[in-house]
Symmetry: C2
Subunit: 151 residues, 2 copies
DNA sequence: GCCATTTACATGCATATACATCTATATTGT
DNA sequence: ACAATATAGATGTATATGCATGTAAATGGC
């Protein structure tokens, strides 16, 4: 019977990625509970804060989605809870009537600043337990994997 | 102003994991479209097939969820589409009236067998583009990250 | 044996994810 | 300028994810 090599398919890189992501996301999510953000929301605010620092007048859904490797429709929905809390806002793009430029608000800035120490706790814990070298290596491999399939 | 080090928070390991996982999951999801499975469903069937090979009379939700690092409630819901398609089934545990033992069906076995070549296409593409050594290294780091936060 | 506690699973809720499709606007070819 | 095409974003639908809570069954203390 069988015909299927269990050792081959058990080595699935995608399954390994998804499994580790579940665990590590929990680590960060739990760390951020006190400030009422998820790990994903922290990441969105970080990107918008980075854009703000670069004096960019907001990021379009498309540009931000590209940077995050996220579908634009997913990003639209992920921004909603943040918009409801007043942490992000958007305004029309004067250059393109189809686009909306998303920015971090003053409140979003405060919330991000409040979140950083909690985020750092998770980031440090992973860094220490996995090892600084291994963590850096992991990050490089993840970024390479992402970049390879750039569309 | 600012007070936030963008370089520090842009280096978030969790965000890197999630971003790479989105991309790589798409690679596998697209490869599996012809057989009507998602990457996650392929992973579930793999585990159940592995248990079947070991002559285990089905896996409980709890045991399988532990192996996958997945919340039991998530697993319950992820199994539903597979059960509807008749690819998995469950029966009462004679030793424990609370548990349900999940097994892969004959149809699930066929479907998995049908899926393997498509899955292998994605797995091979990633392996070639990232490099065999880097892929193995990535897998080891992912498994280590997962294991470290074993509960 | 009985009651308190623990465990296994299901369900309600909120967020996360992507594809197909729709609308509105921009761009391009002529 | 106009028509055809392409692009930006929103929405419907399905799967994925975890927490809080509820229900039923097992376990432990007495």
């Amino acid at each position: 019977m069988s015909d299927i090599d269990i050792r081959e398919i058990a080595d699935c890189t995608c399954a390994g990625l998804r499994r580790a992501t579940r665990r590590i996301t929990q680590l960060y999510d739990h760390a951020l509970v006190p400030v009422g953000l998820t790990a994903n929301q922290f990441s969105l605010l970080s990107h918008l804060y980075g854009a703000e620092m670069m004096k960019v007048g907001g990021l379009s859904i498309k540009l931000l989605a590209d940077r995050l490797g996220m579908d634009p429709s997913t990003l639209t929905r992920n921004l909603k809870p943040l918009a409801i809390k007043g942490l992000v806002a958007d305004h029309a793009d004067p250059k393109d009537g189809r686009a909306r430029l998303v920015t971090i608000t003053a409140r979003g800035h405060s919330k991000l600043k409040e979140a950083v120490p909690h985020w750092r706790g998770a980031q440090s814990e992973l860094n220490e337990k996995l090892g600084a070298g291994a963590t850096k290596q992991l990050r490089n491999l993840l970024d390479a994997s992402f970049a390879i399939f750039e569309t």
